[in-house]
């Protein structure tokens, strides 16, 4: 009888131990997941606060107001916001046209465009603009996309400039030569190839626009709503954000302070000096944070193509 009793006891101890292990594992997994969830929540909250400090604080859309002066001042605040961050200047002609289109939309004479329509318009605009690019413009764009440059940029950073970076958060191994030949191939493509490129461009644009609309409706719901659709001014702001990869976070004053702090932190980390942000914009051509050829992708010609397509869509009922 004794060995049987011992065996029963051993079984009981083993079962209790197994139960304890399962419970411990469950609690650990639950805690890890809760910590990760809290961390994600914290990242989201801080990011949304930065969005409110940037576009939320500095761009004043006319809202439902149909007042002509209000509409004009909303377009001016948008143009000012873009200029302070990227140096990109919207011409008087473009601002007038945009103000007229915005007023027409707010008056109900034309409708707002949907997020899907904006993605389609961005792809169409990009392909139409690429079709007009000269070889030297393509080559200049490749150099600009190499990233920020300054005479005192350390060599270890400069070595990365021979690669083209298409998004601020993503490293790329695409060389200048590869970029130039790919853009030229898109420019010189026949109709059937163009249709394939357009599909790819639409998917890329849709991902960028949806990501932005996602956080803008959450952080600044008084300015952006997924259900209402987009006015021409909102569409232009989103277009700027996509082509410059400026996430519209931080006010101009805070952006300056952050760039200065980044310079100091990077200098300390590399044990040398990193160029000053003084005299540089955060975004756009040779942007301190992210460099993009806005002189091509957000110039008057491109903006007019964009506004033509927005006008065309917003007249369709």
């Amino acid at each position: 009888m004794k060995p049987m009793l011992l065996l029963r006891k051993a079984r009981f101890v083993f079962a209790a131990l197994a139960l304890f292990c399962v419970a411990y594992l469950g609690v650990s997994l639950w805690r890890t997941s809760a910590i990760n969830q809290n961390k994600k929540q914290e990242v989201k909250q801080k990011f949304n606060a930065r969005v409110r400090d940037g576009v939320g604080y500095e761009v004043k859309f006319a809202g439902r107001s149909k007042d002509k002066d209000n509409v004009r001042s909303s377009i001016n605040s948008l143009a000012h916001f873009i200029r302070l961050r990227s140096g990109s200047e919207m011409s008087g002609r473009v601002k007038n046209r945009l103000a007229d289109m915005e007023a027409s939309t707010l008056n109900g004479n034309s409708r707002r465009i949907t997020i899907d329509e904006l993605s389609d318009i961005l792809a169409t605009t990009a392909l139409e603009r690429v079709a007009t690019l000269s070889d030297s413009e393509v080559e200049r764009a490749a150099v600009t996309l190499g990233g920020f440059d300054a005479p005192d940029l350390p060599d270890a950073f400069r070595r990365g400039r021979d690669k083209v970076k298409l998004r601020a958060s993503k490293h790329s191994d695409l060389t200048r030569e590869e970029f130039v030949s790919q853009v030229k191939a898109i420019r010189d493509a026949d109709k059937s190839s163009s249709a394939i490129f357009k599909g790819a461009a639409r998917n890329a644009a849709a991902a960028e626009v949806k990501n932005r609309i996602g956080y803008l409706t959450e952080a600044v719901p008084e300015q952006f709503s997924e259900t209402d659709g987009l006015t021409p001014a909102q569409a232009v702001l989103l277009t700027y954000s996509v082509v410059s990869d400026d996430l519209l976070t931080n006010s101009e004053t805070n952006l300056r302070k952050i760039m200065k702090a980044e310079q100091e932190a990077v200098s300390k980390a590399i044990g040398g000096s990193y160029p000053s942000p003084d005299g540089h914009f955060a975004y756009g051509i040779n942007g301190y944070r992210f460099s993009t050829p806005l002189d091509i992708t957000f110039d008057e010609q491109t903006l007019n193509i964009l506004l033509n397509h927005i006008a065309e869509r917003s007249m369709q009922r």
């Binding site: 990242v43 990011f47 490293h171």
Partner: protein, 71 residues
């Protein structure tokens, strides 16, 4: 699509985290509440990357990453 052998190897080694795209071999790092990251590749090249809305940056495979400013 750039599918060099080194990229393919790298992708197989770290399934799920590493992606081969037009950008070559990269891995995704979350830098939390920091807005920017400084990375250094195995060859000593330095670069800056700026976090997306979820705090993620895609850096070259094998690179070390650190958030520059945590707020």
């Amino acid at each position: 699509m750039r599918n060099s052998w080194s990229c393919l190897m790298c992708c197989f080694l770290v399934v799920g985290l590493v992606g081969c795209s037009d950008g070559g071999c990269t891995y995704r790092a979350n830098i939390g509440t920091a807005e920017s990251a400084l990375y250094q590749t195995e060859s000593g090249q330095l670069g800056m990357s700026y976090a997306d809305s979820d705090g993620n940056v895609d850096v070259p495979c094998g690179a070390s990453v650190e958030g520059v400013l945590s707020q």
